[in-house]
Amino acid sequence: MKNTPWLALALVTLTAPALADGPSSSANPPATFNGAKVVKLCDNKTTVQVPNDTPKTPAEGKKIADALMAQWESKHPDSKWVAEEVEAHQVVPPEDNTKLVGTGQSSTYGAVSSQDVKVWNTETYKEAVYGSSVFHSGDELGSEIAVSCDMCHPRAANTHPETYPKFQPQLGRVALLRDMINWCIEHPVRGKVLAPDDPKMRALEAYILAQRKGVPLDYGKR
């Protein structure tokens, strides 16, 4: 699975105040080089040199953090994949559950917090957005002929996931959405079929269902 940039950002901002406070007492103390401190990012690879006489102010700390982050981002051009995928393909966001915040009194973990809602929303959306990136990429789908799902189904149009399961005479059995996805991968896309629990299959289902948000279920409909 892909990395999330905010995780790295959170860790690097922890590093910066530590520097501003003076020599770190962590297990990995910053090394020195030619009279300059070497500050490492939490990936243990990305470093930046800071002159010893750098004033120990929050502003300077921020500069160091930004320099590290800029390096990390240039090494990970894919790190903004969620934002980029959403901008390009306008994936429908999941239900916003903010109205639940503060409810759920007397449950084991207390009331629903805004943090809960944020995690649900972010994680669910990420699954659909990952699905969109697979849906729109012949390479991700393993197509031998550079064909991707969006060529016939822009924004997942005409996929009608709400009509499954239904009997598909051409397959000789009841088809689930994933059976049709696999059929398309095998034939028009000319790729390798995915296992039902393959992360890509799960994501494709998530994306296709996301795009039909609000449409009533109507299984068996032809």
Binding site: E87, A88, H89, Q90, H136, I145, A146, V147, D150, M151, C152, H153, P154, R155, A157, N158, Q168, P169, Q170, W183, C184, H187, P188, R222
Partner: protein
């Protein structure tokens, strides 16, 4: 499939009675593959009646189910004629994808089998998929085997890798006009986009890839643009209003559905330039489907693709469009095809969609002129799967 018997020996132009008999027989069987009985009866009796009316006795026993000659002479100086179209082939290089090449070859065979031959063939744009020189060269090579002369139009897939450089080298200017049998034809480049790539630091390949995604919202809207509109005004300046105008544009010259760029941003401005003429028809590619519209005096027809079909847009479908039901994915090449355009002597057109796996569908000028009251097209609908 029934291939035409061919010979490597160079033959004189005149065909023997036998050859013609076998050609007509083959053509009949080819037609039967995609016609149901009712349509066949209708078409073949129509052809027989037309043959009698024209006094062509040797056509009376003809196997040919379709007679393209126009039934009414009109009395004017102009004569009716037919041109064919092939569009949206989206070729990759052969190593990447041979399927799209095979499908374009099928369309070329269809058009070459037309008898009589069309006056010319319009290629409706998106010859290449990623605008590469190799793809365009391959397309140009395939189109060379068409017997009739070819008129080229550019699509966004041909353009945004090198901004038309190779396309222009191969096919000349992207917008031009010509006169044919009293009709003034205009070919537009309607898929200009405002610069979205420089600010994002995109490479030519990234720019092309963005435009190649129909549902990619990073790109700008299609437009003819101010410079080309000025050119169009000037081109039409001296053309009398009674002259029929036929415009080719890759994108539909109206606003249908912005998220898929079924759209031309300055469509109203272009329509305004065309409004003063008595008879105007616009033929467009890009939408890969049976699509019909009329705005004022302008009649619009879409073209089929040879590569893949698009679904209908979820909003904005013109009321005059009689929808084809959605292509059956289990039926390879369903929803694809090519077609022809029969131009009446007075200048309006009947548009024929030659769907590969269904009955051909004709959208008549009278259907559009009467705002849907007459000659409603019979759309070939397959059973839902």
């Amino acid at each position: 499939m029934h291939d035409k018997p061919t010979s490597r020996i160079k033959r004189p132009h005149i065909k023997s009675v036998e050859t013609r008999y076998f050609e007509e027989r083959d053509s009949l069987f080819r037609g039967l593959q995609s016609l149901d009985r009712r349509t066949f009866m209708k078409v073949s009796t129509g052809a027989a009646a037309a043959a009698v009316a024209a006094g062509v006795s040797h056509h009376f026993h003809s196997f040919l189910p379709i007679n393209v000659a126009s039934a009414t002479e009109g009395g004017g100086a102009r004569q009716g004629f037919t041109f064919a179209y092939i569009s949206d082939s989206h070729l990759y290089i052969k190593k990447t994808n041979e399927r799209f090449i095979r499908q374009l070859l099928r369309a070329v065979d269809d058009v070459n089998a037309m008898d009589p031959q069309p006056d010319f063939v319009l290629y409706g744009g998106d010859l290449a998929q990623l605008g590469r020189k190799e793809e365009l060269d391959l397309g140009a090579q395939v189109l060379k085997s068409l017997k009739a002369p070819v008129r080229m139009m550019v699509g966004e897939h041909d353009w945004f890798f090198d901004m038309g450089h190779r396309w222009n080298e191969l096919f000349g200017p992207e917008n031009y006009s010509f006169n044919h049998k009293g009709v003034h034809f205009v070919v537009l480049m309607s898929v200009h986009e405002k610069d979205f790539w420089t600010a994002r630091g995109m490479t030519p390949a990234e720019r092309m890839h963005t435009v190649a995604g129909l549902d990619n919202a990073v790109q700008s809207a299609f437009e003819v643009g101010a410079a080309e509109r000025t050119w169009l005004k000037k081109d039409l300046e001296k053309v009398p209003t009674s002259t029929p105008i036929i415009v080719f544009s890759h994108s539909p010259l109206y606003k249908l559905y912005r998220p898929w760029n079924f759209w031309t941003d300055d469509a109203e401005d272009v329509q305004a330039i065309l409004q003063r003429f008595d008879h105007v028809t616009v033929l467009h590619g890009h939408t890969h489907q049976v699509l019909t519209n009329r705005i004022g005096n302008i009649q619009f027809h879409g073209m089929l693709s040879t590569a893949w079909p698009w679904p209908y847009a979820p909003q904005g479908l013109p009321a005059l469009t009689v929808q084809m039901n959605r292509p059956n994915p289990f039926d390879p090449n369903d929803g694809l095809g090519d077609g022809s355009v029969n131009v009446h002597p007075e200048g309006l057109v009947d548009k024929v969609y030659s769907l590969w796996n269904r009955n051909p569908t004709e959208v008549k000028a009278s259907y559009l002129s009467s705002d849907g009251a007459q000659d409603r097209p019979v759309i070939a609908t397959l059973a839902s799967y």
